[in-house]
């Protein structure tokens, strides 16, 4: 259940990233704010700020002195007494600040390096082919429900050794963490309970039946000769599931949604596979799925904005990626764009740990879709559903296929 809220009249003074207008098409909102504001404010969620210029987003992302990552999802509460204490936060390392952050991050980095990701290429390609096979003679496919939503879900389940048949449950977890942000705090705590129980069961199963996967890696990992605290293992598991699923699901979905409206660009990619790397970076720039959040540590003046302790910052990398000060023709999707210093994976110390995995999944998912269907087009552009909240992506988009 969500609380019904008044619609946003003025995004400069009352923005809300769950407002239907924002969910449907946030780009004009950001463009206007960037020109006129450029740091928007809202009293919603107990007070939040929204920088829209690349320079401001970058400055805040790099400033761990004034801004904490203790929670990175804006909601109606603040981390309370029940939250693990700083510096670890609820889901290390994304919720950790220096200096603990570097330790928690370094622990995970080898598992997500390009060379560690490569062995999952074949699994991912076979998965994409298996998902598309039933549609060989079909006339329509939903790029989200029939394809994109399964790919990162089943890849991360494979990596952490969770049962693939529970995949719908993982997406429900993602929904609770990222989309149900309007629910009252008590209700959200209740919604988290089944997640906690499920993860505890899976972790226990790994303790009893050791195997070679990321869960076992975490259970055996040590910091300074000590096994990780149970809440560290649990928090990182939740992070891997949540951050590993709807981010890449969204990126794959948005890319295919775009190509379904630009058959000539799809054709270019079919004939010039070299173009794919540039196209993926451009899809990441133009349709960056992830907005992060920070909390203001202490009262602080940021470029004339009187930020108060515990105000949220909605750190919109997608808005930064559309800043014409940094990107030529920022509002256009140019699939062979060469100069493209986008911030889709964040800036500063919290660069997306899974960026190499995300790119691999995007590439293979798009390649396989293009190879399977000689042409595809969006069935009804008005019947596209976008996710609500800090991660933006297609949740329904039916395309005609042949």
């Amino acid at each position: 259940m969500t609380i019904s809220k008044p619609p946003v009249e003025d995004f400069a003074t009352d923005f809300d990233h769950t407002d239907p207008e924002w969910v449907a098409n946030p780009f004009p909102i950001w463009d206007e704010l960037r020109e006129t504001c450029p740091v928007a404010h809202t009293e919603r969620y107990g007070g939040a700020w929204l920088p829209t210029r690349y320079e401001d987003v970058s400055a805040i992302a790099h400033d761990t002195e004034h801004f904490t990552s203790r929670t990175v999802v804006i909601g109606n509460g603040r981390p309370g007494d029940d939250a693990p204490p700083a510096p670890m936060g609820v889901a290390p390392p994304i919720s950790s600040d220096p200096p603990f952050h570097a330790i928690a991050r370094r622990l995970m980095q080898p598992a997500f390096s390009p060379k560690s990701i490569e062995p999952y290429n074949e699994f991912t390609r076979n998965l994409c082919r298996r998902l598309l096979a039933p549609f060989s003679d079909a006339s329509q496919i939903d790029i989200s429900a029939d394809y994109a939503e399964h790919i990162p879900t089943l890849v991360i389940a494979h990596m952490i050794g969770f049962p693939p048949e529970d995949e719908a449950l993982f997406r429900e977890f993602v929904h609770v963490v990222l989309e149900a942000v309007d629910a009252p705090i008590e209700e959200r705590i209740e919604m988290f309970e089944p997640i906690r129980i499920y993860f505890e069961q899976q972790i226990m199963d790994h303790i009893e039946n050791p195997r070679d996967d990321l869960t076992d890696f975490l259970l055996n990992a040590e910091i300074a000769g000590q096994k990780l605290a149970p809440e560290h293992v649990f928090g990182t598991m939740v992070l891997l599931i949540v951050a590993g699923i709807d981010t890449t699901w969204s990126a794959i979905g948005s890319s295919l949604w775009y190509l379904a409206q630009h058959p000539d660009e799809a054709e270019r990619l079919r004939h010039d596979p070299e173009l794919m790397s540039l196209a993926i970076e451009e899809f990441l720039r133009a349709f960056a799925p992830v907005n992060m959040a920070r909390l203001v540590k202490e009262d602080f003046d940021f470029n004339g904005c009187p930020m108060k302790k515990d105000d949220w910052i909605l750190l919109s990398f997608p808005a930064a990626n559309r800043d014409p000060e940094v990107f030529e023709d920022a509002d256009k999707v140019i699939i062979d764009r060469k100069v493209n210093r986008h911030a889709a994976f964040g800036l500063g110390i919290h660069r997306c740990l899974g960026s190499n995995l995300a790119r691999m999944e995007m590439r293979i998912a798009i390649e396989e879709f293009l190879a399977h269907f000689s042409s595809f087009s969006l069935a009804d552009p008005s019947d596209v559903v976008w996710s609500q909240g800090q991660v933006r992506g297609v949740r329904k988009a039916v395309v005609n296929i042949s």
Partner: protein
């Protein structure tokens, strides 16, 4: 022409080794490293400049 990566700035975005694999590689953590001593072979100058232009952390330096 020579490329260097400032390891204090690099956050492992992978734009250098992704876009110019003849000039850059990744280490065990996934951080960018230059291949060899960073000397840019003839013909790869444009790739080096693009790697510099695309690094989100401004970690790549070019000396001519």
């Amino acid at each position: 022409m020579k490329v260097t990566i400032d390891p204090d700035k690099c956050q492992g975005h992978g734009r250098c080794f992704g876009g110019a694999p003849d000039l850059f590689d990744s280490d065990d953590l996934g951080q960018g490293i230059v291949i060899g001593d960073g000397t840019v072979p003839a013909g790869l100058e444009e790739a080096a400049r693009l790697a510099q232009a695309n690094c989100p952390e401004y970690a790549i330096e070019i000396t001519e």
